[in-house]
């Protein structure tokens, strides 16, 4: 018997003996309302961890990269699920599955970048469980939805037992796996506004194998006036820094240009100035800079071509 006497014989059928379980022991809570989650978090602080889709947290628990005395399962909190209309955009409950975000018609129409980014997350089996709130709260710098949220100036609705507050994306992602949320706070929903103008959106990423973490990725939105002159630019990047990043130099260079005349490859190269990549076993920092800025150019090209069509000029 592997790990000492704690592991009792639980498979009585046929006298089977349970193998060692992998995560450290925890107390399991399955609250059914945000208020109950908030009071559990208030009581246990950073000894407690909310469990959303579990596609990142459970592997980390299984490998004992982390351990918590209390796991607060959000999967039975009905009010955290679903997409609704709000302020001309959408409000997406934090527990809405990535697959549901991908399939939602209102999201596709009002926030096309989320719809375009979703298929790049893991595999369909992962997206069936993984949630948009889990992705954002986990704050992996190589993750897709955080980069889209940052590019589009989305906001996080965050609740504790004593308050509810809105945190803009620009203030939300503090460092790798670190957010502006306190241990007693829960991510309840994400808000995105839709663009009421001719606009083009595109998303792509570079990964060695389908479903791998991206070595670099780009989420681009470009808005233009009726003449096709660019008056809004949003460029988010993933995998090229300690957090998702905005390519501010690219955005500044695009403003005021005619969408038809902007040179995406040349402007995309500016993105390297806004990156802060590290080298690891998957790719060197230099590779991420060069491949990442080339990718920004390609994604820009796709968004520019679409915005011209939307402006009736393509």
């Amino acid at each position: 018997m592997p790990a000492g006497g704690r592991l009792s014989r639980i498979g009585q059928r046929g006298g089977l003996q349970c193998r060692a379980v992998k995560p450290a022991p925890f107390e399991y809570h399955a609250p059914e309302s945000v208020a109950d989650v908030a009071s559990l978090l208030a009581e246990h602080g950073d000894d407690a961890k909310p469990l959303a889709g579990g596609q990142s947290l459970v592997p980390m628990l299984a490998m004992r990269l982390t351990r918590f005395e209390h796991i607060v399962d959000l999967n039975r909190v009905g009010e955290l699920f679903g997409v609704e209309s709000g302020n001309g955009g959408v409000r997406i409950g934090a527990m809405t599955r990535q697959a549901a975000v991908e399939a939602d018609a209102m999201v596709a129409e009002r926030v096309p970048l989320l719809h375009l980014a979703a298929p790049h997350i893991g595999h369909f089996q992962i997206r069936n469980r993984g949630t948009i709130g889990g992705s954002v709260a986990h704050a992996d710098p190589a993750s897709e939805f955080p980069a889209v949220m940052l590019a589009l100036d989305g906001t996080a609705e965050v609740a504790s037992s004593s308050s509810v507050r809105e945190v803009p994306a620009a203030e939300f992602f503090e460092s790798t796996f670190m957010t502006a949320m306190a241990p007693d706070e829960l991510l309840v929903a994400l808000r995105f506004s839709s663009w009421e103008q001719p606009a083009g959106f595109a998303f792509d990423e570079i990964a060695r194998r389908s479903g791998d973490f991206a070595l670099a990725g780009a989420a681009v939105g470009i808005g233009a006036d009726d003449q096709g002159r660019i008056n809004r630019a949003a460029v988010g990047m993933l995998g090229v820094g300690p957090t998702p990043l905005r390519a501010a130099s690219v955005e500044a260079a695009l403003m005021g240009l005619s969408a038809a005349e902007a040179d995406p490859a040349e402007i995309g190269r500016l993105a390297a100035d806004d990156m802060d990549p590290i080298g690891d076993v998957h790719a060197s920092a230099e590779y991420r800079l060069r491949a990442g800025s080339t990718l920004v150019g390609r994604v820009l090209a796709a968004a520019l071509s679409q915005v011209q069509k939307e402006a009736g000029l393509g």
Binding site: S8, I10, G11, R13, G14, L16, C18, R19, V21, K22, P23, A24, P25, F26, E27, Y28, A30, G54, Q55, V58, P59, L61, A62, M63, E69, I71, D73, N75, A99, G122, H123, F124, Q125, I126, N128, R129, R209, S210, G211
Partner: protein, 162 residues
């Protein structure tokens, strides 16, 4: 802390009850208490896809769920796909016909994933098939037989009714 708790869910059409700590994974519950040893454990952290099962009709990694989270759920493992012991599911039949397996370790996860994929996408292109099977790893076949099996199963499931 972490007392044993009672567990109950439907597995392949039958109610299965058991006990376990909250940290017991669904995969371990299915293998050791429901005796569905077709649920294979390769990586146990969500990468290889060998432990894929259907939970309320959707393909999921059973190593990334705790059994307690599946309380009351309807689980289908590879053992429950075919209607009876004498019949193979069209996906299983196609894997046999097209040499979609060699050692067989990854096969239960592939079969469950492909069955779910084809339910959602009954007439996939070859490119869609390759994306559809990307969440499962096979170290033997080189995937060509699996792509061919998925194509054959798609045609059979569309045409033949199952």
């Amino acid at each position: 802390m972490a007392d044993q708790i009672p567990l109950s869910m439907t597995v392949n059409g039958r109610i299965r009850r058991g006990r376990g700590e909250p940290r017991l994974t669904l995969a371990d519950f299915l293998r050791e208490q429901a005796l569905c040893t077709g649920v294979h454990l390769g990586c146990e952290h969500g990468v290889c896809g060998s432990c894929t099962v259907l939970m309320d009709g959707e393909a999921v990694r059973s190593c990334l769920l705790f059994a307690v989270q599946a309380e009351g759920a309807d689980i289908t493992t590879v053992e429950g796909l075919a209607p009876d012991d004498e019949t193979l599911h069209p996906v299983q039949e196609a894997f046999r016909d097209c040499h979609g397996l060699q050692c067989g370790f990854c096969t239960p996860g592939f079969v469950v994933s492909v069955a779910a994929f084809l339910e959602a996408n009954p007439d996939p292109s070859d490119d869609e098939i390759r994306h559809g099977i990307a969440g499962n790893l096979c170290r033997c076949t080189g995937y060509q037989g699996i792509v061919a099996a998925t194509r054959q199963a798609a045609d059979a499931m569309r045409g033949g009714g199952r």
